[in-house]
């Protein structure tokens, strides 16, 4: 018996949308997003890989552009000419991982010494700054830990302190915020749970309490919101779902309803996925929609790793082989 959902994902249209979006640089939206092109590239390329279409882009072209964004210190900028920031350094590393080109970071340049500048961003209390200007956020803790784990040099930072800082951001609802005392938010929870997963520290999470908070993010339409009493949004199909998977509580939501919500957010004509049905699509939500479907074992979508946010085969190749 064929899966009734199997023909409802407009995979080819989404692929075309991603490839087109890359060429369409004159719209206001794409100019506003100019400074985070590195994130955009990661979202687009990972989606292509999940749909088994990574072959349709030129590896050399992408990799050489990525390398134009690297600074002397080792960190990457969101685009050529912008300042380096840890947010874009992770995307750059993930893109290189997708293409199996991480070895490019090992040759020449100061990057090898500084390991992309990340270790220097750790503060005395274990937290991480995003760049030299000192903004502190658990998003940056995740990024540092994820990046260094992919590069197999987590020993460059104080992992125990990093973990303790993340745990200090745990709230009384079981969730995590961006700094101690800050409100729980599904995106932030993904970062904290992901960092704890990568460092083998998930025993520090109150899984039942957090699991209940997360599964109550599912609203009547089947979609997930990011905080209580907020609207559902396709991007939480990733943040909430991956967190629920990492703590083994994903069976607490109705997966079929969520699949339907994501599919309802597709632009069936021009491709792409939006935050909610009938809103304008963008590459960010296209990635989170497809990644969410991957976590829901949707046929035809490659499995994605819930902690590293890269296809399982990519992360297994890096971490499970010598």
């Amino acid at each position: 018996l064929l899966d009734p959902m199997a023909d409802k994902l407009a995979a080819d249209k989404h692929v075309r949308y991603i490839l087109m979006a890359e060429k369409k640089k004159e719209s206001f939206e794409s100019v506003v997003m100019d400074h985070l092109r590195m994130n955009g590239a990661y979202w687009g390329l990972t989606t292509l890989d999940l749909l088994e279409k990574l072959g349709s882009v030129s590896v050399d072209e992408v990799v050489s552009w990525v390398m134009t964004c690297q600074h002397e210190s080792g960190g990457f900028a969101g685009n050529t000419g912008h300042d380096p920031h840890i947010l874009y350094t992770l995307s750059a590393v993930q893109i290189l991982a997708l293409f199996d080109k991480l070895n490019i970071l090992d040759v020449g340049k100061v990057s090898n010494l500084h390991k992309l500048d990340i270790a220097k961003l750790q503060n005395e209390d274990g937290s991480f700054s995003g760049d030299m200007w000192g903004e502190v956020d658990t998003r940056f803790s995740y990024i540092a830990i994820c990046c260094l784990s992919i590069l197999k040099c987590l020993d460059k930072i104080n992992v125990d302190k990093a973990v303790d800082y993340i745990v200090s951001c745990k709230n009384l609802d079981g969730g995590f915020g961006c700094t101690p005392g800050a409100e729980s938010h599904a995106g932030q929870i993904f970062c904290c749970v992901g960092a704890l997963a990568i460092t083998g520290s998930l025993h520090r999470v109150d899984k039942d309490l957090l699991g209940w908070w997360l599964c109550e993010r599912q609203v009547k339409s089947g979609g997930l919101n990011g905080r209580p009493e907020k609207q559902p949004d396709v991007c939480y199909s990733w943040w909430v779902l991956s967190s629920l998977i990492m703590i083994d509580r994903v069976h607490w939501i109705d997966k079929a309803k969520l699949v339907k919500f994501i599919l309802d957010c597709q632009d069936m004509e021009n491709g792409g996925i939006s935050d909610r049905p009938d809103d304008a699509v963008d590459i960010f939500h296209t990635y989170f929609g497809v990644a969410g479907l991957s976590l829901l074992e949707y046929p035809g979508v490659k499995p994605i790793d819930p902690a590293y946010a890269l296809p399982v085969d990519v992360i297994n190749r890096i971490l499970l082989t010598n």
């Binding site: 903004e135 915020g177 907020k230 819930p306 992360i315 297994n316 499970l320």
Partner: protein, 713 residues
Amino acid sequence: MHGRPRKASNPEDEEASAAKAVKLRVLQSQFMSNHHDKMYNSLFFCYRNLMIGSVSFRLLIICCLLDVLGFWASSYTKEAIELSTKLLEINPEAYTAWNYRKLAVEDTLSRIESDPDLFKSVLDEELRVVESALKQNFKSYGAWHHRKWVLSKGHSSTGNELQLLDKFQRLDSRNFHAWNYRRFVVELTNRSKQDELQYTDDMISRDFSNYSAWHNRSVLLSSLLARNADGFVPNQKIPEEYRFVRDAIFTDEDDQSGWFYHLWLLDQTVNVETPLLTSSWPSHGSRVNLSGSGGLNDSSSKLPSFCSESGSFPLILYFDQDVGGVSSSTVTIDSELKGNEDLVWEPVSNKSSEVSCVWVTRLKYTSTEPQKEYKVKLRIGNSPGIVSSRGCNFSSPYEFVFTAHVHDNVEGSQEGIVSWTDGFSNWDAQSVDLKSLVTFDQLNAHMDLNWRQEAIAEEIDLFRLLSDSKIGKLTLARLLVAEAMISDDAIKGVNYKEILKLYNDLMALDSSHYQYYKDEHTVALLHTVTSSTESLSRHLFQYSDMNNSVCLRLNKLSLSRIASVEKLLFVQMLDLSHNELHSTEGLEAMQLLSYLNLSHNRIRSFSALDSLRHVKQLRVLDVSHNHIGKHSVDTTRYLCSSPLSNSEWTQDEAGRQMPSLATKYWDAYFVLRDLNLKQLDISGNVIAGDEFSSFVTQVVPKLVWLDGQKVRS
């Protein structure tokens, strides 16, 4: 784009958008060019410093001259800064522009330090730019951080900030950036926590559906309670807070804002911070039969015997929460058994962790002097050192005594195949025997029960009025569990009957969260099964094939998770077949477990069996007819020690010889190689097959039986 409608673009809109785009692009490239000029200048500046002491004296002199003339400073021109203002007002997310402004501000401040008015006006201008950027995008991380950065430079008028925030927070009362900034300003200005608590009162009274305000309230209140601030004592404040949050829940029972706050209050009511010992094996006053390797033929006792090839048996301590610091200095043992002077206690948990609610050590014994009885006495917590992960001391010293009875070393070790299908008969042990096996948890003598019981009783009465709704039923079930925790057995029995019914109702009422209620139902069911010797004995059987070992059979109960393990520490043979389990999390506490049947469950991968790695005694495992290999998503991938979680790096001989299979079957590889299995059943799983079987026999060198076939003798 968030919240922007999808529509067919009309030519006029497209034109307008294109024009805007051109304008912004010009602005951005002008800015970038200013930024780069500055960067090259500062690079040159660095270069100049490096040259000091080198041979380029002429160049150095030129540089110094230029420096004196103020050439370097001039690159932050008024025009360039205004350009960055314009850019940020259109696109507050252009982070490089914020960086540029910070460089410019630092540069200016370094030259005008002596002039406080000028100093203030520079920072005022930054605050103004942030404010207009926030009007464009209230969620801009860069803008909020820039404001914090400006204030940390020593801006004097921090008082204005709370007024500005009031304005913003009225417009968007859930904006978490604003709340974070509020906490930052409160700390900077040393505003009192009581005042901030009042602010959450005001926000909630204006609109109770404000989760952010409830969250902040929980943070403030727990801090005030923790430091015993004036008037903040739990027996007064917590009942008050129940009344406060009740209004919110009863106003709109579908609004989640108060749900989590109520659950937090409930937790504060029944759980005390001081760690307690829940149970142990052996338990107080019990008699333990020990023998050497092999089975037993002890007909004098109806009690199961413990046998071990290693000549030692585990001592298990089970606490009500994670603790650290269990050691031979915090737990003293008086024993006639020789060779136990330097006992090492280990947490039963993840390798990297030094805390656990289960601790184990191994006590040595020899069977050279058979039929002898030895008394063992444990004293826990006489000297300080056992501390909960929240930093509270185990403060109620406790001691218990048991007798170890060493038997003959019986010939012939257990090499036969264990069948789970027949050979079971009802166990006719007396309940007095059973009582010595199972310890029942003690109440905390130091706990002030009165106000807690009253508060919960009042809540139960009220939530019965709401028991048509989902949150009404769920809260009632949780309140009944809480009441049972701090009440005697009679109340417990009545409560659990109702709790089971409530969860059944919830499964039908809120089917999206069916499995959540199912799991809670299972917890309640296992609680009921283990609540008395009578109910437990209905599940205990004798297994004739193994010298009448006692087997706990919890099969066919539709269990979906593991619970109440603290009551089952004595179990050596456990049948959990034909349930709905997808993980063995929790079984790690059962340190005596040797035979485990998990067939016909919903195990999806070997990583779901990770907790069994701690069960050193396990020899026979049946995971046939599960879902291993069927799913592409592994929900226990990160609950298992492996290189993915940076908690396992070593490869043994088998892994080195079969690198590609060790990668392909990584979860089986990392879990099975740590289990000392003699018998394993994996048939009826997608993963099963010749390749996997031959892999398993190499990874588990002591395996004798695989899927009913002898693979080694």
